[in-house]
């Protein structure tokens, strides 16, 4: 063997030995397939909020309330290829205006109790980025969400007031119902979310329901969960607000009362 060939062989063997250190996860293809299906569904729906980082959090079983909120919030923003959200700080007690201002550089309207006996439980801040198809960041924003519970506890349900400092141009009402509340225009939408494990195979019923717009499928949870969600979104002075009900199944009128209570804050 020539000297060049000896050297080449040594380099090849060295790389092969190093490469053999890594093992391939058995669920890798399932994760790929789940992500492909998710993206196909998102592309079909057009304006659905896409959040890869948050989906990854759910896939390792660390579904924070904020991540579920982001995935379920039906009225957000299209025009870009994807939105990423990164959770930051959280408040376990009702934050002051100064504290909120310090964390997110703006002060939304928010209250410590929503009508119907829902009291403040905690708040979380986030940074979000909207990216185009080439992964370039097109818009960045900060947000803070306030979570509320009845006295008896949430029992796994969510009622939140999500705020993001995003211009109105990024808001897409999609198929939401437009409702006038005095001088405020709000958008109401109801959806059923089905959370499934990564290796879940869609049934014929699932496919029919998806086609009919009755359910949204989201991959990554350990068990199958079906949750009815409602959201009311509005825009005011540079801030997009979303009141989100996941699982409480409150009346629309009750949700609108909550919106009015927040809107009335001076």
């Amino acid at each position: 063997m020539r000297r060049t060939e000896v050297f080449d062989e040594q380099v090849k063997q060295s790389l092969n030995r190093k490469a053999e250190e890594i093992e391939i996860s058995e669920v890798l293809f399932q994760k790929i397939k789940a992500q492909v299906i998710q993206k196909e569904e998102e592309n079909k729906m057009g304006g659905f909020f896409k959040n890869r980082k948050m989906k990854k959090m759910i896939m390792v079983g660390a579904a924070s309330l904020l991540s579920i909120t982001c995935i379920a919030a039906p009225i957000i923003l299209p025009a870009l290829n994807s939105w990423e959200s990164h959770g930051r700080t959280s408040f376990e007690s009702f934050p002051t205006l100064a504290q909120v201002q310090k964390e997110v550089d703006y002060t939304p309207k928010y209250i410590d109790e929503l009508p119907g006996g829902f009291v403040f439980k905690r708040a979380s801040t986030e940074n979000i980025e909207g990216k185009d198809a080439d992964e370039n960041t097109v818009v960045k924003a900060k947000g803070i969400s306030f979570f509320y519970e009845p006295i008896e506890g949430s029992k796994g349900r969510i009622l939140s007031l999500d705020t993001k400092q995003l211009a109105e141009e990024w808001m897409n009402s999609g198929e939401a119902e437009e409702i006038g509340l005095d001088d405020l225009k709000v958008y109401y939408e109801a959806r059923t979310m089905k959370f499934v494990p990564v290796d879940y195979e869609l049934t014929e019923q699932d496919k029919q329901d998806q086609e009919a717009g009755k359910i949204d499928i989201s991959y990554g949870t350990d068990t199958i969960q079906v949750i009815n969600t409602q959201a009311i979104t509005w825009y005011e002075e540079g801030i997009t607000y979303t009141l989100l009900d996941m699982g409480y199944e409150l009346d629309k009128e009750q949700l609108l009362e909550m919106v009015e209570a927040v809107y009335a804050v001076e």
Partner: protein
């Protein structure tokens, strides 16, 4: 089934065909990325992203016969971008997990069986600049031709040859330096063979 036929089916949305394509490329894909990043966790994420991107944009591939180069282009670009961002560092809280994982992977048997030359080579390959290292990996591990590498990396064939030559030169220099050091210490292994290559 022929690869071209598989690609045609994947274009039609056939997920079984996509699975078959995955099976053909998964080992090389994950090992290539691992050679670039040196990190198992990130490697899997990158490979996942590459296959997803591959499926969603396979309709853009004009010539199915070029699939291999096209796919490795997606893969190496993601690996490159990720590696530059991560700079091979992990968050402090993860470092013990990573170190323990590396210790498990490199068994004692592996260490004893591996010749000193290869250990040295591995170390020197990791010291190469990212561009040179990537070309070395694509040439020696993936056994792509210079022409294919040029397509994957997006540069001229002359540039590929030049970088390959530089990378090989650096590795040989290291081997020779090691030999000279061993001779001074009264030891010896045939690194003389690498002079003048």
């Amino acid at each position: 089934m022929e690869e071209i036929e598989l690609i045609r089916k994947v274009r039609e949305g056939d997920k079984e065909a996509f699975g078959a394509l995955f099976e053909r490329y998964k080992v090389q894909a994950i090992r290539t990325v691992y050679l670039i990043t040196g990190d198992q966790y990130r490697s899997e994420d990158i490979v996942q992203e590459a296959f997803v991107k591959c499926y969603l944009s396979i309709h853009k591939l004009r010539n199915p016969e070029q699939f291999r180069a096209w796919f490795f282009r997606i893969l190496t670009r993601l690996a490159w971008r990720n590696d530059v961002r991560a700079k091979r560092m992990v968050p402090t809280e993860d470092i013990m997990e990573v170190m323990n994982k590396k210790a498990d992977q490199i068994s004692l048997e592996n260490i004893y069986l591996q010749s000193e030359t290869q250990r040295l080579l591995q170390g020197e390959i990791e010291k190469l600049g990212s561009e040179h290292q990537m070309i070395l990996i694509l040439y020696y591990y993936n056994e792509l031709s210079v022409k294919e590498i040029a397509k994957v990396v997006g540069c001229l064939e002359g540039t590929v040859k030049s970088r390959l030559h530089t990378a090989r030169g650096q590795l040989k220099k290291a081997l020779i330096a090691r030999q000279e050091s061993k001779v001074e210490n009264g030891e010896g292994e045939g690194y003389e063979a690498y002079r003048g290559i």
